[in-house]
Amino acid sequence: MTPEVRRRLHFWYGIFMSVLTAVVAILFISQAADIYYSGHEFTRELVAERCAAIAAPFWIWIAAIIIGGAVLSIYPLEKKKLKRLPDARGDVNRLTRLTAADKSEDSEFFELANQVHSENKRTRIIWYACLLICAVCAGIILGFAFNFEAYPSDPNEAVLRLVAVVMPCCAAAFIICCGVTIYDAVSAKKILPKAKRMLALGGRAPKENSNQNTAQRVLSSPLTLLVARVVVFALAVAFIIWGVLNGSMYDVFAKAIKICTECIGLG
């Protein structure tokens, strides 16, 4: 089989499986929703009847997975060569770090350095603003979630109220973060050629300054890691022993041996 034919086989099989998988999932979801919204009670017979109605596409899906999987493994595609993920901001930061900074006599270098610096500063301000908005959203979520007195007694109502507050805050934070990420990428792409030109003009710095400050050195040292591990281990063991003695281990057991129906979604 030629590579082109294999590529087409993989492509069309992928499309076919995508559609079939989505159809099977939608069928299951629609049957469950239909039983509930039609007002019928869930019974074994009714569920079996509804499952029988969608059995054919389900078994076709299973067969397609098995047969298609076997065929595609016999005729695999060539593995694509791995490439570094595009990261313009990372490249700019790295190039800026590598560039020698002492070329103040070169006016073009000086101008490029100013432009890169001001663009970086602008991006940093935007990121701080994004961080502030995320912090505000987080504060709203925490304030609402931990305002225990305001919780209604009905759990469903409580969760719905939480969703009504948490989801918009999350959505806002998500949109802001996505927007700033896109801006950062665009801005980095704009100044990447300038950073490259700076490196060409200024040359490489004699030695990359890898000296860490004291705090970084302490945090990354093996001794800190060892101390952290020992402390966590000691705390874990102490808590477990305390838990056995104060009966909280028994609480785990008591909960795990009886089925609380609503806790697993039987309701």
Binding site: A32, V47, A145, F233, V237, F239, G243, I257, C260, G265
Partner: protein, 577 residues
């Protein structure tokens, strides 16, 4: 003939090669092993009953619902929520200790190797479809699981703790493991036919959510682990300090970025809080900079390390190391640590030759030999590990399926709807007498409710039962029988309820073993589901056996039916499915 033979031979060779190339990886074998070990109670799938033995005191490391009939341990996430929900009576230190221990030992290696939910997603991802690749957007989305951790796992259970109603919100509204491993597997068993009557809006929502997560798993890698799982969020905090996992050796790393490009999780660098330590990046690193933590004991030291075992720091890249001072024993020593702070790095180099004219050196110290397990030792270690693991798995399966004594007694006669109520006696927490005997109730309806203190729907319906008990005081007796709790806790729990439940019209009692070798709960047909309500009419005939919550209107209807049992032909016998 020769041609046919050679063609057949080459065909089988191709088949063999195909199997070799598509054999399960070590990681997949470990995932399957862990899934089987944590679900060793295979007989539960056939009986439809969950395991209730001693290992349920312990949590399995991954997300595996306790209500799955085959699971032999508790779920850490569910146990944490329940522990927080009960934190007014007991500090939830046991669960915090367990999570800290798992985090320290494995961190998110659990996600990559031990979690059955992760295994299911991995298998679904293998279905050949176009895949949604990771991006900066998915990286941002991956922080959503921290929101779920704070809101549903911590805040909501704590909030409802103050309302004396335990509510494991993540389990109830989101967790797909509970829906698939618990609800669906239990429903598939014909022995649990009565469970269908409990299904409603909550099950519909959870089932749809499960279907969406499974659908998403086909098109993107581990969507639940990346965006939803609070347990992964907790373990992610321990990734840096965990004993097991992958790490990058900085001196070998050239920052090519291929590890991040190959990884399907939303990592920024290998080993961060999103890394599930699956180890797939190890094979793509061109400089072999990514290794398993602790794997240096399997790496053969070079000649210098094996002889003098010194590490000589370089002062700079050009000048040779300072001549070492000869000691009386003839060993070579290294410059003091104080000098090394200004030095860029250390490297093994030739031990400098001893020179009698060498100038006095700085203060020196000796570096110990590195531990190394040779190839023979590694082979032995591998064989021992495989043997022990196999023994453990086989032993677990044999024990849980053939020797487990915790299985409920299914040999006694179980009363059903239409049967006469068997007599029983239980110790009471409230009421006038110290004991309650069923046969003493004559000419009145008897409502028996089975509950326990950490059961949310039980605690939601009991106030309605209390109201009904007050309204039908003269014609009905209500008894609420508690299961699995030490006596003192239940008394304190009941006294602490709003309105002091010890003083109302319901008789609270403690279940116990009866003469028939079963508890009252088992005698009246109870399996694993709570709450359960049994209603007995004025003639002593069981008319209702219902699993699941019962609202006031339904309860009242059943009481009125039981108060007026018609002729045998006209009796409206109600059984929940």
């Amino acid at each position: 003939m020769k041609k046919i033979l050679s063609k057949t031979g080459s065909f089988f060779k191709k088949i063999g090669l195909w199997f070799k190339n598509h054999a399960p990886t070590r990681r997949r074998i470990i995932q399957l092993y862990a899934a089987l070990l944590t679900n060793a109670n295979i007989k539960g799938l056939f009986t439809g009953r969950i395991y209730t033995g001693g290992t349920k005191n312990m949590c399995v490391p991954g997300l595996n619902c306790y209500s799955c009939p085959s699971t032999v341990g508790a779920c850490p996430l569910g146990a944490l929520q329940n522990a927080l929900a009960s934190s007014d009576t007991r500090t939830p230190v046991f669960m915090l200790g367990i999570l800290a221990l798992f985090g320290l030992m494995f961190a998110r290696t659990i996600c990559g190797f031990l979690c059955p939910t992760g295994l299911l997603q991995d298998l679904l991802y293998k279905i050949h479809t176009p895949k949604l690749k990771k991006s900066k957007v998915t990286r941002i989305l991956s922080y959503f699981k921290y929101v779920l951790l704070v809101v549903l796992v911590i805040a909501v259970p704590l909030a409802f703790m103050f309302q004396d109603t335990p509510l494991p919100a993540f389990c109830k509204y989101i967790c797909p493991s509970g829906t698939l491993g618990g609800a669906v597997l239990l429903l598939l068993n014909p022995a649990n036919e009565n469970v269908f009557g409990m299904l409603g809006g909550l099950f519909t929502w959870k089932f749809c959510l499960l279907a969406l997560i499974l659908l998403a798993s086909v098109f993107m890698y581990r969507p639940f682990c990346r965006f939803i799982c609070p347990l992964g969020a907790i373990y992610g905090f321990f990734n840096k300090i965990a004993l097991l996992g992958v790490k990058v050796e900085k001196d070998k790393c050239v920052d090519c970025g291929l590890c991040v490009a190959h990884c399907k999780m939303d990592i920024k660098h290998v080993g961060d809080h999103e890394c599930i330590n699956c180890g797939e990046c190890i094979s793509v690193c061109p400089t072999k900079a990514i290794v398993w933590k602790g794997s240096s004991i399997f790496v053969k030291p070079n000649d210098l390390e094996s002889e003098n075992t010194v590490k000589v720091p370089l002062t700079n890249f050009v000048q040779p190391a300072p001549a070492a001072a000869a000691t009386e024993s003839g060993t070579v020593v290294t410059p003091d640590m104080a000098d090394m702070q200004a030095i860029e790095g250390t490297a093994v180099c030739e031990a400098p030759s001893l020179s009698s004219s060498a100038s006095a050196a700085a203060v020196m110290r000796k570096v110990p030999r590195r531990i190394y397990i040779n190839e023979k030792g590694q082979k032995i270690l591998k064989i021992v590990a495989v043997c022990l693991a196999s023994l453990l798995l086989v032993g677990a399966i044999i024990y849980y399926n053939f020797f487990d004594v915790s299985a409920p007694n299914t040999f006694g006669v179980v009363a059903e709807v239409g049967d006469e109520l068997p007599d029983f006696t239980v110790e009471t927490y409230s009421g006038e007498a110290e004991q309650f005997t069923a046969s003493e109730i004559q000419g009145k309806v008897l409502v028996i409710n089975f509950w326990y203190t950490t059961c949310t729907p039980c605690l939601e319906e009991l106030p309605e039962f209390i109201e009904a008990a007050a309204n039908y005081r003269d014609s009905a007796t209500f008894v609420a029988i508690h299961d699995v709790q030490i006596t003192e806790d239940v008394t304190a729990f009941l006294a602490g309820r709003e309105g002091n439940w010890l003083t109302n019209d319901i008789i609270f009692a403690q279940d116990s073993m009866q003469d028939n070798g079963m508890t009252v709960f088992e005698t009246l047909g109870g399996t694993d589901y709570f709450p359960r309500t049994v209603i007995v009419d004025i003639n002593g005939t069981i008319t209702v056996c219902q699993d699941g919550k019962m609202d006031y209107e339904t309860l009242e209807g059943h009481i009125l039916d039981a108060l007026n049992p018609a002729d045998e032909e006209q009796t409206d016998i109600t059984q929940n499915n």
